[in-house]
């Protein structure tokens, strides 16, 4: 399995990265190498194997529906890159 520039560009767009041509070229070779290594998994027949998502055997963990104190707005806004009044400010979002 190898990747081409077009695929690298697509993955970069999913990842929200802008890459220059040099970076794209490096990623093509580095990720290609890793993917080639990963191919070894295909040696195994996993037809009847259940996927393991959690290493723990626990299930049904809940909290009760209890309202807790929220954090003070000034505190969260103080670490934000940009705010306006009571809001977080971002560049215009077109619908």
């Amino acid at each position: 399995m190898s990747l081409d520039i077009r695929e690298i560009e697509y993955i970069a767009s999913l990842s929200k990265f802008v890459l220059n041509d040099e970076e794209k070229r490096v990623f093509v070779s580095q990720l290609g190498e890793v993917l080639l290594y990963i191919e070894k998994l295909n040696q195994l027949d996993t037809e009847n194997v259940v996927p393991l998502v959690h290493p723990l055997n626990m299930v049904n963990v809940f909290r009760e529906d209890e309202q807790k104190e929220s954090i003070c707005r000034e505190k969260v806004q103080s670490i934000a890159p940009s705010t306006m009044g009571a809001f977080f400010k971002v560049p215009k979002v077109l619908e």
Binding site: L14, V61, R63, K68, V76, G85, E95
Partner: protein
């Protein structure tokens, strides 16, 4: 050419829990921006979600009310896309093992019952709110995260609807079910109930479904119906011209009443769903399902059926009563007091609803209680007050919540059934209306009504009409 319209709906309903789905922040609507937030719902680094049990059980309840099969093993998945109102840039939702699958809901259009299949019911988190300032040339948007993380139920139907009437009924019926099960306040104006439609056309008689267009930004039930109408004609015009319908997502423009392209299938988002590793899976056993089933109320259509059968109400009347569960409960409480179902039904759907509409009342906060309406009806039945008087008393009950007896006593509204007293008044009326007496003797029927009215005027409506009628006739005919 004639086409068949094929419509499916996706419904989002915010669940009415105290706290958010994964953190303890309040879900109350209308708070100051960004005051109901915490590190968890702001998606700060290192924080973790913990599932609100009530939200989970509400979703189960909805799935059961919609006749779904409950997946014994279910879990949350992450759905990835970037948007500034989505704090983690992934939404914790369900994709691979939805909580409820393969359900249905019955709708009734023109007295015909139709089964609309439900593809799945699942639980996810709400996004925040983006505000686009009106000021000209503003190059920014603002974000409020108060809604971010509120529990959201998604109900996905199969494309089983064929016209706007069915869609309208589906929306109302579903809304009723959510209100009956008490899991959402379904306030469309606050965004706690929202619909998205997918619409496709196919030639009459054809089996294969056409390419579907997904319609977003439908802010009211009215816009859903308008969008369907618009989209139907847009698509059929295209097809008539021999053009193909593209699979795409379109936005409904409420003001211009038309739909505009948002993205095509090629640009479709790649959501990269995978199981949420921060939350463990859920195993829902039979016992749990049963205990939730026990909390399910009688659902609207069942209730309607029962009202028709046990109380001999018309289909139409029963339909009006079950429109709102509070109304239906009010009715049943009344009937429990005295068994006059038809009488109570009339009081509720005529007088009560009129008062509610005129005075813009909230049905949930009515001052009048069922036992009081029952007492009023008993007073009429015993001849203590007349029907006419009763209407005024009822209005007063709505305003004050006072007992009918108290109102009648305070305003001295007890019916006059004293024959001697009525006799005196009759004499007076006869004496002062000789023309009417002439008319009566000539056989003019409305003269009697006129004289009756005069008596009522004289007694401020308190005279027992039956008695007056009887005595008056006796007097005139003798």
């Amino acid at each position: 050419m004639d086409y068949e319209v094929v419509i499916g709906l996706e419904t989002h309903a915010e669940l009415s829990t105290e706290s958010k789905l994964f953190c303890g922040c309040s879900t109350k609507f209308g708070a100051e921006p960004n005051t109901q937030v915490c590190p968890v719902c702001l998606g700060m680094p290192g924080v973790l979600p913990v599932v609100n049990k009530k939200a989970f059980e509400y979703a189960l309840k909805a799935a059961l009310a919609l006749n779904c099969t409950i997946n014994q093993h279910t879990n949350f998945d992450r759905k990835s896309y970037y948007y500034p109102d989505l704090p983690k840039n992934y939404q914790i939702s369900q994709n691979y093992y939805n909580l409820g699958v393969d359900g249905y809901m019955n709708i009734e259009v023109n007295d015909v019952m139709k089964k609309i299949r439900i593809h799945n019911v699942h639980l996810e988190e709400e996004a925040g709110k983006l505000i686009h300032p009106d000021e000209a040339g503003a190059d920014y948007s603002l974000v409020d995260f108060n809604r971010a993380g509120v529990p959201l139920l998604e109900i996905v139907s199969y494309p089983d609807m064929r016209n706007a009437a069915e869609v309208e009924n589906y929306m109302y019926t579903l809304r009723k079910i959510l209100l009956y099960t008490d899991i959402s306040d379904c306030k469309m104006q606050e965004g706690s109930l929202r619909f998205e439609a997918s619409i496709s056309l196919r030639k009459d008689g054809e089996q294969k479904l056409g390419n579907r267009v997904e319609m977003k930004n439908l802010n009211s039930m009215k816009s859903v119906l308008k969008a369907i109408e618009y989209e139907t004609s847009r698509q059929s015009e295209l097809l008539d011209r021999g053009e193909k319908i593209e699979r795409e997502t379109r936005l409904w423009d409420e003001i211009r009443e038309k739909s505009v392209r948002m993205r095509s299938k090629e640009e479709a988002q790649d959501y990269r769903y995978f199981p949420e590793p921060d939350l463990l899976p859920f195993v829902i056993d039979e016992k749990w399902v049963c205990s939730i089933k026990e909390t399910l109320p009688e659902l609207p259509l069942e209730k309607k059926q029962r009202f028709v059968e046990s109380f001999q109400l018309s289909d139409y009347d029963a339909g009006l009563l079950i429109e709102d569960k509070i109304l239906a409960d009010f009715f049943e409480e009344c009937v429990k007091e005295v068994n006059f179902p038809k009488v109570f039904c009339n009081w509720i759907i005529n007088d009560l609803l009129r008062e509610v509409k005129e005075k813009k009342l909230d049905i949930a906060l009515l001052k009048i209680k069922p036992a009081q309406l029952a007492a009023l009806v008993v007073m009429i039945n015993k001849g203590i007050i007349s029907n006419t008087i009763a209407k005024d008393v009822f209005s007063e009950m709505i305003n004050t919540g006072k007992e009918p007896k108290t109102i009648v006593e305070e305003k001295k509204l007890v019916q006059i059934s004293d024959e001697g007293l009525i006799d005196e008044i009759l004499d007076k009326v006869i004496a002062s209306n000789p023309n009417a007496i002439e008319d009566y003797k000539k056989g003019k029927k409305n003269a009697l009504a006129f004289l009756m009215g005069q008596v009522m005027k004289e007694t401020k409506g308190k005279a027992n009409p039956k008695l007056v009628n009887e005595l008056l006739k006796n007097k005139l005919d003798s």
